[in-house]
């Protein structure tokens, strides 16, 4: 006796009644066909490696010899690994240093470049140039600037200290465990400021003009307008910038790789740098995968907290 196919096998049941219309059906098929390359690419190059790395994280494996299944051994080991905690501290230091500073500076820049003055496009372009510049070139340029003997930064600082008769000397930026991370933060903020500035500019230009006109009629000062109109109505943009900046900070790598190679005294070994070291320099692929998944869980957790708390401070018009 012939039996009918299960209900889930029929596309009409999960694509809705539109699938019964032949013309619509053709379109849906065509849509799937066009989506296929992207979906296949996503499955092969994103989902595949993700699942593979999850599997690797349960192994003790250098990719060459036979793998040993250690189950959660790598995860347990990393909680006892002082270097992992050191890398996490370095990452949080970078995050706490770079995100607020980058946010405030890019907002200030956006406010300054939201004026109707001559050559405004030129200035906007200039501030955006670091964003499109290669990180390698930028990092090398800053390395020269940070040179304690021939760098322009220390020359200017020391001249200023001398002028003010202050008994201070500019630091040995990239060779000092105290100053290396601030040096990286400063460079990163400079490089990323233009991108956030553009986002804030778009947010500023989306604030309805009539709100400012009403505030002016009521006699509100510019400062008052900023705190009661601009800042609250910019919160959707600020929320987006904050989430992206925090995720980006958790993933910081190139700056430390190029400028300090994790030193001095491993003060700039961030978590992603530690993943790189374990995976690609020491060939401990299982352990590196475990660190990567812990980092993913951290990013997910922090983003979820931000998402949940947005209703308290993000205002959508």
């Amino acid at each position: 006796m012939a039996t009918s196919a299960p209900a889930w096998r029929s596309p009409a049941n999960w694509l809705g009644p539109e699938y019964r219309n032949p013309a619509r059906r053709r379109e849906i098929r065509a849509a799937f066909l066009f989506l296929l390359p992207n979906v296949v690419g996503f499955l092969i190059f994103m989902v595949g490696p993700l699942l593979a790395s999850l599997g690797f994280s349960l192994l003790d494996w250098n990719l060459l010899s036979a793998p040993d299944m250690v189950w959660l051994g790598n995860y347990l080991e990393l909680f006892r690994d002082a270097e992992f905690w050191r890398s996490l501290r370095a990452t949080f230091y970078y995050l706490v240093g770079s995100v607020p500073l980058g946010l405030v500076l890019s907002l200030a820049l956006a406010l300054a470049l939201n004026q109707r003055i001559r050559g405004i496009r030129f200035f906007r372009t200039v501030y955006f140039i670091p964003v499109v510049s290669s990180m390698v070139a930028v990092a090398l340029m800053w390395r020269w600037m940070y040179n304690p003997t021939s760098g322009i930064l220390n020359y200017m600082l020391n001249e200023t200290f001398a002028f003010l008769r202050l008994p201070l000397r500019a630091p040995d930026w990239l060779q000092s465990p105290v100053w290396a991370m601030p040096a990286i933060i400063l460079m990163s903020v400079w490089k990323g400021m233009g991108y956030n500035m553009v986002l804030f500019l778009a947010g500023l230009q989306g604030i309805p003009r009539h709100l400012y006109e009403a505030a002016e009629i009521d006699g509100a000062s510019n400062q008052r307008q900023f705190w009661t109109i601009t800042l609250p109505l910019l919160t959707p943009t600020t929320f987006f910038v904050l989430i992206m900046s925090i995720i980006g900070s958790f993933q910081v790598f190139e700056q430390a790789y190029i400028m300090t190679q994790g030193g001095p005294v491993r003060s700039t070994v961030t978590t992603v740098y530690y993943i790189y070291e374990n995976g690609f320099e020491w060939h401990k692929m299982g352990y590196a995968s475990a660190v990567a998944w812990v980092l993913f869980a951290l990013i997910l957790g922090v983003t979820l907290i931000q998402w949940r708390t947005q209703e308290r401070w993000v205002f959508y018009e």
Binding site: T149, G262, P264, F280
Partner: protein, 439 residues
């Protein structure tokens, strides 16, 4: 009259063209035909290396000789910058896509040999007794030997010596460092030549550009006090011995107490030695070549005379040796051809022209080493060879991981000015388990 192309026609045309292009890319190579059948089969070997453009004329000279010798075996030379080369090579090993001929160095060779990435030369060596293996410097061959089988032939070796600005020594009336000298004499020389020439309170001229010692080069100062980084069997870090602690503390004092050596950051990207702002640097024969290209010849030079000296000693003369070599990937489909190439490329006449004469390094073969000594090179270039007699080496599989740990503790001493006696036992505690785990 033009006909507008419909969307459907356009898509069909596009799909057809894409399919045709994909099929064309998959097409088999066109056979050479009758004329090709008479020709010997040509094989292309992929060779990977870390050289740069400046290096290539030297290597290309050898390749040209090979072309004359065996036109049927072509070499496809692939350069990757040093930093990325080892990551790439390991990835290729994992993917079973190793090159036919592998540029190798002695400090990483044990890792690649023991993980099965390199082809043993032993069967070829046994079959061809005319290949003079004994001519390769024995000390360095330990790096390329595992369980009595040889896996690579060296093209060069590096010993490292202080390179000094002879003109600066003479101008300041400081005795030239010829022959053996002691740590104390070295220190006094550095102090005499570290100067604030502009009188602004800052040092403008340094005694010695101390390099980053968190590498194989740490064995150089250690060996001059009877110490070494890792035991000869590679299972124990020896940095906590009194001699090792004394040596590292002396180096730290040169920077922090006597202030004769700038930090790595102060050295920056400006070559302080070449610009006459440091009395001494250090380097291998390749560095000699680089300095000559920047400041001119060592001897016949009006403005900048320079030379090499022995490394100062505490209790005994010392140095360390590492070097480069060529090996064969374990997965090669052309092992015989690769062997033929490596044998030729590391033969005496080739290494003499390619490595020794241009001071690219101490040639891998002892019989032609004297070719390194020319009138164009520094007066005491011979020292590079003399120190081979007592040079020590560290060959361990986890070299990268161990030196990363070493760097952390050396930074504590050389940057944070922490006492070596407190820090080095911590380094040993962390390095020993890695040595044992990866042995």
């Amino acid at each position: 009259m033009s006909h507008p192309t419909s969307r459907r026609t356009f898509l069909k045309l596009g799909a057809g063209l894409s399919a045709a292009a994909a099929l064309a890319a998959c097409a088999a190579p066109v056979p050479a035909g009758d004329a090709g059948a008479a020709m010997p089969e040509t094989v292309e070997l992929r060779l990977t290396f870390w050289g740069d453009l400046a290096d290539m004329p030297t290597w290309n000279w050898g390749i040209e000789q090979w072309k004359d010798e065996r036109p049927d075996i072509q070499i496809k030379w692939e350069n990757t910058p040093w930093g990325e080369y080892w990551t790439k090579l390991q990835t290729e090993a994992v993917a079973d896509n190793l090159p036919d001929v592998v540029g190798m160095v002695s400090m990483f060779s044990q890792q690649y040999i023991r993980q099965g990435s390199l082809l043993s030369f032993q069967s070829y060596i046994d079959a061809e007794p005319e290949v003079d293996v004994a001519d390769f410097w024995p000390a360095n061959m330990l790096a390329y030997t595992w369980q009595d089988e040889i896996y690579a032939f060296p093209y060069d070796l590096s010993t490292v010596l202080p390179i000094y600005n002879k003109s600066m020594f003479l101008d300041n009336g400081v005795e030239l460092p010829i022959g053996d000298w002691t740590w104390d004499q070295f220190q006094e020389t550095c102090i005499a030549l570290t100067q604030d020439t502009s009188g602004d309170g800052n040092t403008d001229q340094w005694g010695w550009l101390m390099p980053n010692l968190a590498s194989w080069t740490i064995d150089i100062p250690l060996s001059t006090n009877g110490a070494r980084f890792v035991s000869e069997d590679g299972l124990k870090c020896l940095l906590d011995t009194p001699e090792a602690i004394e040596t590292i503390q002396w180096l730290s004092d040169l920077r922090h107490v006597h202030q004769v050596s700038p930090t790595i950051a102060q050295q920056g990207d400006v070559p302080l030695f070449e610009s006459g702002r440091a009395a001494m640097h250090w380097g291998n024969p390749e560095r000699v070549q680089t300095i000559a290209s920047r400041v001119g010849p060592a001897r016949d030079n009006e403005n900048f005379l320079w030379d090499v000296a022995l490394f100062p000693m505490k209790t005994q003369p010392g140095n360390s040796v590492q070097g480069g070599s060529f090996a064969i990937g374990a997965t090669t489909e052309n092992p015989d051809q690769s062997w033929e190439f490596v044998k030729f490329y590391t033969s005496g006449p080739i290494l003499e022209e390619m490595v020794a004469k241009p001071s690219r390094g101490i040639p891998g073969r002892a019989s032609i080493a004297q070719a390194l000594i020319t009138d164009e090179n520094p007066e005491h270039q011979q020292y590079f060879l003399d120190v081979l007699e007592y040079s020590i080496s560290t060959f361990i599989p986890a070299f990268a991981q161990v030196t990363a740990v070493l760097a952390k503790y050396m930074d504590e001493i050389m940057i944070n000015n922490e006492p070596a006696a407190a820090i080095l036992p911590q380094a040993v505690e962390e390095i020993d388990p890695i040595l044992i785990e990866t042995a």
